[in-house]
Point group: C3
Chain length 246, copies 3
Amino acid sequence: MQRAFSDFISIPEKAGIIMVIEKEFGPSAAEDWAKLTAGLANVVKCTFGTAALYDQQVLQEKIRVYRDAGLSPMVGGTLTEVAVLCTGGYSKRHLQGYLKYASSLGFTHLEFSDGTIYIPDDKRGDIIRMCIDAGFTVISEVGKKDAKKDALITTEKRIELMKQDLESGSTMVIIEARESGKGIGVMDKDGKVDFGELDVIINAVGLANTMIEAPDKSQQQTIYMRYGPEANIGNVQPRDVMSTAA
Amino acid sequence: MQRAFSDFISIPEKAGIIMVIEKEFGPSAAEDWAKLTAGLANVVKCTFGTAALYDQQVLQEKIRVYRDAGLSPMVGGTLTEVAVLCTGGYSKRHLQGYLKYASSLGFTHLEFSDGTIYIPDDKRGDIIRMCIDAGFTVISEVGKKDAKKDALITTEKRIELMKQDLESGSTMVIIEARESGKGIGVMDKDGKVDFGELDVIINAVGLANTMIEAPDKSQQQTIYMRYGPEANIGNVQPRDVMSTAA
Amino acid sequence: MQRAFSDFISIPEKAGIIMVIEKEFGPSAAEDWAKLTAGLANVVKCTFGTAALYDQQVLQEKIRVYRDAGLSPMVGGTLTEVAVLCTGGYSKRHLQGYLKYASSLGFTHLEFSDGTIYIPDDKRGDIIRMCIDAGFTVISEVGKKDAKKDALITTEKRIELMKQDLESGSTMVIIEARESGKGIGVMDKDGKVDFGELDVIINAVGLANTMIEAPDKSQQQTIYMRYGPEANIGNVQPRDVMSTAA
């Protein structure tokens, strides 16, 4: 691929992963967007709690489009949590059926989370390994969707869980910021990044092992400014990828 | 149609009507979106005051796309009001010409409103019946686009007009919230739903006969929480349909 | 082209130029949007600082789509500024290479600005003339992207530079409001238009020679209300064109 204006403008090579959260595209919009942002994003999270509203064929078509464009389609964590709730818990049989089905649709990546349901810490490893056995690249997430519950997790605990997930085989651990990016995880109530805490986490876990959910463009900018182009950013909106990658 | 993940996730059947307000799609974006949200939305309002800016062929193409996808294309109320103003009042002849033309474009539904123009209360029935005679399913709206004027309508008056419209043949009556969803109808200035008033209206008119304009996702959620999946929601943004329907 | 509802609704003929800033479309979304807004917008600014992230072929495809739809594709000013920085200044040779390349991609219009870099006032004319010689229609911009620096430019100075640019061959001069439209140029910190200053500028420079960046729909409305349909508006979002043109 030949980048436009490459003889006149030097863009630093993007080194980190960009994970996009995509909820709005039909198959042709997905294809058109993938064409536009070719080579910039890496992972596309395109299911969420309501993925069961998708026509199965349309979802498969989108997944194929993303794979053809070199993007990794990822099952969102909430979907898995809902599936767990609906099928009556993380029983091995139920989960394996679910994973087999998700894999048959074409998903290659899976986000593992317990943002809305309770999973004992010592069960996380089992589940992550089950997902890997089913053929998935696992990105796990530490944090609760409820800001009050999330605030109860100490930095030490967060680090401990992240390390544990990495040991269990997760390729990366996400720090939750939801889609709003405010008052949760390392984002304060105005959506500013709390680098005091983030520095400690990244120092302990490693930049390459951390994905920071930063839905807001200004958050993305400050993160790249602080950690360089190697930072991994998650929950980027499709239309922001060109700016994020800049 | 086979819903994705249906063996793993049970979604309560949607029972109420979802009316989308769509101003941004060309024909292929419309088709792509209709594919994505298949079976979730019901009515698409795709003209507004400025519909006269559409190339006629492009508009017809969009309408055909929506009909093919099982969606009912609706002429917005403001367009009819503007047409009335431009043609010099709700004269029978002018209106019939307008309705015939709108019908020839493929519209099946028509929103009847007097949000910006003055129509005597006792003329509403005549107009609604004329629209029905022209083959339209009529959804009428009670309320003014100007918040100050709208605030002058008492709850009793609102209910009276709604009942009158239903008797005249409207299939449903809309409670105005504009596109902003703030400081108008049953929405307070922060966009919170005033259930005190809404409960009284719905109690008097019936949930099935009421469509609540609720452009904001959090408004939609609180309305479904209070009235269940049978609530009818209007002015939903195209990209929010997947969440609204969840 | 036959406008819809033209027998029933009279829309005042748009007289001024609408310049759209477009960062999100792949080739088919661009085509679909151009179809929808046929004849309403005039100029599309579709590169920005990060245009070097575009696949060259995708960018060329978009430009062709716009030209086929009768829209003039414009190179954004920031891109040129970045190119200048990367190639080591506005040297004649470098700039000519850049202009030749941009022209070969199909761009017909070029925005000349010094919003982020320093260009001596007496060099502006040379550069503008060089762009014209390369075949471009030039729209130049007066103002700084940094609000503090921009505030230091007096109204007199702004007018002087605008007149100078017009004499150098710019077809029009843009008053900067960035994409946010707040606290910059003639927009106050709440995004309200400061007509006190704008009246003085337009009085001195001429309405036809001025393009006012007004990304917000309410700004566009107040500008049209004050100066009529001849006003030239810039940085309009693609999805707002139908309303802007109304």
